[in-house]
Amino acid sequence: MTSLLIILLLLAGAYLVAVLEAWIANGRLRFATPVLAGIAMLGRESIVPRQPDRIFFETAPVLLLISAILGAMVLPLTPDLITTDLATGALFINAALVYVLVALLMAGWGPDGAYAMIGGWRFLGQLIAYAMLIVMPITAVAMRAESLLTTQIVVSQAGLWNIVYQPLGFGLFFVAAMALAFLPPFDLATANSELASGVEAEYSGVRLAVFRLARLTLVMTLAAATVVFYLGGWQGPWLPPWAWSGLKILAVTAAMLLAGRLMPRIREADLMAWGWMLGIPLALLNIFLVGVLVLVWP
């Protein structure tokens, strides 16, 4: 029952993200547009490229969707509104989201097209660099909560949100989350002007609709993860817990979508260099700092 509710909430969230995206992009708040665009996409012909690896081509959008939904399964919206409060929840979300990489590799290889293939390999490099920046800040968060339970992580922020307690980790996690969701400025895998939409290039019709929906859900899941790990989850005065969760998630989503519009796309070489040479040392430093803080000021 709860999981059904969560999936419905995710769909509603994906819809809101789509509205938000369009609003940020052209300044017009239209509530019908995403639905109409989705229906139009369903009605359109879904073209299969000439020599596809059929299994990969068909599986990729679905796998992307599944991995985004699975990631959301361990994130609490209220103390009770969580599908499974796994004892290893903070690790599980990583495990689920790594399959975004597998899905994009499949989508890149499957259609047998140059743009898609380059996009897929680009994302491989990008994610190997940035998956560490997802895992290591979460490690620091779990250190403070002394638990991998996501509910416990939220409770541990009752006095002070993690965004204040470990701002370095928040910054790294936020950047890495954007890179994982291949949002601009990290949209190297789907860069429109470099690869003509890259991994999405060969998808059309229903498959593209699933792909887009999965992408929106992924953004949603990552925003929810940011809220749970760094912004105190459901906690907040006056409003009921679910309202706080919803508001915070929307705010984080808006920030993620807005950030990419205000800067040019990052260069691939810089993305790699900063991820490995700057991001990972900083993440280690963050773990160290949090470790000292936890010992000194329990």
Partner: protein, 175 residues
């Protein structure tokens, strides 16, 4: 009890089946991803065996590992797409026999040996994670640290072997 047996059997079968697919397909990408799904099924099997931390860790680690495998497969193969259906094996009979012998040997030991009484209750997941952490940073710290240092060394050594030697840039390839 029986659900657990069902899950172990199901995911075990899936893992073995994907493992066989690895060597049966001609497409290198499929081969690498079949190995990934074999390992993922194994992770799910670990979850079935109530080893939550290890199961999730297995599922997570293998995804990146096998994706890296995939790119090397595509790089180093003559026909990564598998359209040519090339034969890429040698000493097939010997290998088959060896594989079969290994399997029957291990299976015979598994079935015939008396493993003693089976404990039916495992500690709960949170307890396991805590115990594992204490084990790693307590009694087995030396082993764990050694493994950590070794993997770091191996990474550095592998990178050193793999990067282009500086003088090789100037001399032409003599082959």
């Amino acid at each position: 009890m029986t659900t657990q047996a069902f899950f172990i059997g199901f995911f075990g079968l899936a893992a073995v089946w994907f493992g066989v697919v690895v060597f049966r397909t001609h497409s290198m990408m499929r081969s690498a991803l079949a190995l990934l799904f074999s390992q993922t099924a194994l992770g799910a099997m670990f979850l079935g065996m109530q080893a939550e931390f290890l199961g999730v860790l297995q599922i997570m680690m293998m995804a990146t590992e096998m994706s890296i495998m995939a790119i090397f497969m595509v790089m180093f193969m003559m026909d990564p797409g598998g359209l040519g259906e090339m034969e890429m094996t040698h000493q097939k009979r010997l290998s088959l026999v060896a594989g079969f012998v290994a399997f029957t040997g291990a299976a015979a030991v598994a079935v015939l040996f008396d493993w003693g009484p089976v404990v039916s209750v495992a500690p709960d997941a949170a307890q396991q994670t805590a115990d594992l952490g204490l084990e790693l940073l307590g009694r087995s710290m030396l082993i764990f640290e050694t493994a950590g240092i070794t993997i770091l060394t191996a990474m550095i050594a592998a990178t050193a072997v793999a990067i282009l030697p500086i003088e090789a840039k100037t001399t032409t390839n003599e082959y």
